[in-house]
Symmetry: C2
DNA sequence: CTGAAGTTTCAGAAATTATTGAAAGTTTAG
DNA sequence: CTAAACTTTCAATAATTTCTGAAACTTCAG
């Protein structure tokens, strides 16, 4: 590993836990993404100085996040690993996976609690608050979906618009009917 | 605590670590948000069955996230705690705080690495990839800023638009000049 | 079928993170 | 100033998470 790669790998390791996986999994991801060629499990273990067993578990986890995929190299017995797609794809996968783990279970619980009939009078207020949280989470997830569907280029266009989005929004009543008309 | 509140508090505890804080901090946040009245530290410790010391640290952390604030109740010696704002405000704070911890350090490192002059030839490719990651993170954070500035009502409007956003985007060249003209 | 090359599993060890509770600190009423 | 009421700190301990490495497993060439 060149010094630059080493820095990046170390950093992704440290950040790993904040991003939802552990140190070694973070390092492994960085290594695989930055590598020019497919990497074998043993190469990864050697580069990062971790046990072969740990490497195997880490690869399994990265696959469960759909961030890497196996690739057979003709003539070679062992399996090699490469990123599951472009940076944009990988970022989307992380988002999606985190949504599944961080938001979906909460939305589900909130829905259930809202259906429970209140056992106490103070529950009315509580349910209202839970409802508010639920709606907010729903909005945010629906929105991030929308952005994902746009793809990176359109996202960039939208970005350049900046606060212009607010302005467009004010105009939408004028625009959309016109569009419907055509 | 009513059964509904208990369920919610427990759930926020379990999710806590995924959201960036630990179990008890998650429980404390839920309790404070769902409570109708300001809560004293001792009440929180009792309700959650945790030590007074742990409570104190948890409150400190919630304050560092700017999710709760202290409130003095006239005639009372002790301090009480209430949410730092509406659900929308709290959600924004969590987003912002997480961005600071999860994205900003990485962007900063990536910028530095991109400035380093490559020691090896294979670094050229690596730097290109790092650059790509950097730009993506930049886009996403700028966008989430934008959404935060819009506020909840406009976000809702935008939401209803759904995939219409894509369509509007196609029209923007027609719209924005018109706007500039007026 | 055999064994070499490779991978996965998992019990225990190591490392990290969270929690307690007692001691030290702070604030205020009197 | 003193003492009661309350809060914070932090060393020790408990709980949790991660990592290792040896054993079990799989695959395939010969």
């Amino acid at each position: 590993m060149t010094p630059i790669v080493t820095s990046a790998v170390m950093h992704f390791g440290e950040m790993g836990s904040r991003w939802g996986f552990n140190r070694t999994v973070g390092q492994m991801l960085a290594l695989i993404v930055l590598s020019e060629k497919p990497l074998a499990a043993q190469e990864i273990a050697d580069a990062l100085n971790i046990s072969r067993g740990n490497t195997s578990m880490g690869l399994k986890e990265l696959q469960s996040w759909r961030l890497i995929k196996q690739q057979s190299v003709p003539g070679e017995r062992k399996e090699f690993f490469v990123p599951a797609g472009s940076i944009w794809v990988l970022a989307n996968r992380v988002f999606e996976e985190r949504r599944k783990r961080e938001i979906d279970p909460t939305m589900s619980l909130l829905r259930d609690l809202m259906l429970d009939n209140p056992a106490h009078e103070e529950d009315a207020n509580v349910q209202e608050k839970l409802n508010e949280i639920h709606d907010l989470l729903e909005s945010v997830t629906a929105w991030s979906q929308e952005l994902q569907n746009l793809g990176p280029e359109k996202l960039a266009t939208l970005m350049k618009l900046g606060s212009g989005v607010g302005r467009i929004l004010e105009l939408k009543d004028r625009i959309l009917p016109a569009k419907a008309q055509s």
